[in-house]
């Protein structure tokens, strides 16, 4: 279903035009609403609508979740003891980004992205839910389904079963609730031809438990997301990459003392690469092992992760390649809805890169955030600093379903 595909360029252009039109329309509508109706709402207004909450019930600065928002998410987006109100199961998130400093492969300083979110709970006790996130495309890329899964969550225990297209559960958000502009390189680095990263959503099944004390997950993936996600489309490649066997993801994180969690994770799989030009085939068995720790409170977050990787044949010539990636983030919230942070990144795949990422966020309104990020590479000749900004907001406003 999500295998590598050759896209008909005519269809791709048509879809791009359609997505662009939707983006422009969404931005005009959203901008107008933002200017005219500065009333409270939420990043996923569906949930706010359902329970009559304001955005601050679940979020610090949207889309970052506070402790209650995380508990609500762990419980499968439901509060069994709370009365439900009318809701419309569709919401829209829109983000406009500005990059002052472009890399040689980038051409656009301003990039818009509209994201459609749909979710609903169903079943006898509302313990079943679906969650879908469709990206309308950014930087000229076509739109794509980014998440689309069904799940069952027992709200008291946090035991869940999930199937479809989902993200890998990590100690720090890699994409959808990313607190910066750029994804942690430790979650996004590739090795040779192998594009196995932690940031890419997977297609498969996942089981586990999420509670205040313990996060345990095990997942089997048959494929992964192949769209352009939040950035430009990937350059065309001669190699078609498929899963030779199900990829296994496992992680365990336990709260050892108040506010402090420690854990470990493993990702292992085997991918096959086939050349479209000459038909040659090779496979790469790969492993990613990591440790993680986080000190999280209402004012301060201190999160670190280190991953070590091993690929048996990522270059197609039988050369074993080791890799590593890690980050340490310190974040401070001077108020309940603002934060400033600094992140140190280091990756060796096997080429070493390191950077400092300084960032700050404040909310122009309760359903939006404005982010400024300054990314400074460390001792990397030929690279440059990056200044990025992003305005993000969610629609519709709260209590619009009567």
């Amino acid at each position: 279903m999500f295998s590598n595909m050759q896209v008909d360029p005519r269809r791709g252009m048509g879809r791009n035009k359609l997505d662009r039109c939707i983006q422009v329309a969404a931005s005009l509508i959203a901008g107008g609403v933002l200017m005219l109706r500065p009333s409270p709402a939420a990043a996923v207004p569906i949930f706010a609508e359902r329970y009559g909450f304001s955005c601050s019930a679940c979020h610090t600065a949207v889309p970052e979740l506070n402790a209650f928002g995380n508990a609500f998410r762990r419980a499968g987006y439901q509060l069994p003891s709370a009365p439900r109100h009318k809701e419309f199961p569709i919401a829209l998130r829109f983000q406009e980004s500005y990059m002052k400093d472009l890399s040689p492969s980038q051409t656009r300083r301003f990039n818009a992205l509209a994201i459609l979110i749909s979710t609903a709970n169903f079943g006898p006790k509302n313990e079943f839910s679906y969650f879908a996130r469709y990206l309308f495309g950014s930087q000229g890329a076509p739109g794509s389904l980014y998440y689309g899964y069904l799940q069952h969550v027992a709200p008291q225990s946090g035991v869940y079963e999930r199937a479809g297209l989902f993200n890998l559960p990590l100690i720090a958000n890699a994409t959808q609730r990313l607190d910066t502009f750029t994804t942690q390189p430790a979650y996004a680095y590739t090795v040779g031809h192998n594009s196995a990263t932690f940031a890419n959503p997977r297609f498969g099944a996942m089981f586990g438990q999420q509670s205040d004390r313990l996060d345990a997950h095990i997942g089997l993936s048959l494929d992964e997301y192949h769209g352009a996600a939040y950035g430009a489309p990937t350059p065309p490649s001669d190699l078609i990459q498929t899963f030779a066997e199900p990829e296994v993801f496992a992680s365990l994180t336990a709260r050892v003392v108040e506010n402090l969690s420690v854990g470990a994770l493993r990702l292992s799989g085997n991918r096959t690469f086939r050349s479209q030009s000459n038909g040659s085939v090779f496979s790469d068995r790969y492993y990613r092992d990591g440790i993680q720790a986080g000190w999280m409170s209402s004012r301060f977050d201190f999160v670190g992760q280190q991953v070590w990787g091993r690929d048996t044949n990522a270059d197609g010539f039988g050369t074993p390649i080791t890799s590593s990636g890690g980050f340490v983030t310190f974040k401070y919230r001077p108020t309940a809805h603002t934060y400033v942070g600094v992140r140190y990144d280091a990756v060796a795949n096997p080429y070493a890169t390191r950077d400092w990422d300084f960032y700050g966020v404040f909310p122009p309104s309760t359903r939006s955030r404005f982010l400024v990020e300054y990314l400074r590479p460390i001792n990397q000749p030929g690279t440059h600093t990056q200044l990025n900004m992003q305005l993000l907001f969610a629609l519709p406003e709260q209590n619009w379903v009567k």
């Binding site: 329970y51 009559g52 019930a57 419980a75 509060l79 069994p80 003891s81 709370a82």
Partner: protein, 124 residues
């Protein structure tokens, strides 16, 4: 000597019930009936933030009536005074002690989780 009552706050533990004031829930007890002069303290039994904040109305409004000033502890410590609030109670925290100086019915709720979390203090 005045008696004291501790009211638990939890959106996950304490469900909804109908009352003559409308739906109430999220507190234990949700309808707090006390004798004049009793002191009241609120205890956040969840792992995330709540408040216990007065609602200056005779009936529960549809929209959230609790202002953001309720996120700071109020100067007044009397539930019969307009604007009383515990301020933000982090997970497991206890509020300051509130007095009940006047007989009456006083609506209250959580700033974050109104209308799911709301209750009534009845001072007799």
């Amino acid at each position: 000597m005045a008696t004291s009552v501790v009211v638990g706050e939890s959106i996950t533990k304490y469900g909804q019930m109908s009352s003559s004031f409308g739906m109430v829930g999220g507190f234990n007890p949700t309808i707090v009936i006390v004798a004049h002069g009793t002191t009241i303290q609120f205890h956040n039994e969840d792992s995330f933030n709540h408040t216990a904040s007065g609602i200056p109305s005779g009936a529960f409004p549809g929209g959230n009536p609790i202002p953001s000033t309720a996120l700071s502890p109020s100067q007044t410590s009397d539930v019969s005074q307009v604007g009383w609030s515990s301020g933000v109670l982090t997970g497991g925290a206890f509020s300051k002690t509130f007095s009940t100086s006047a007989v009456g019915q006083y609506l209250f709720g959580c700033f974050y989780h109104y209308p799911t979390m709301r209750g009534v203090v009845i001072v007799q």
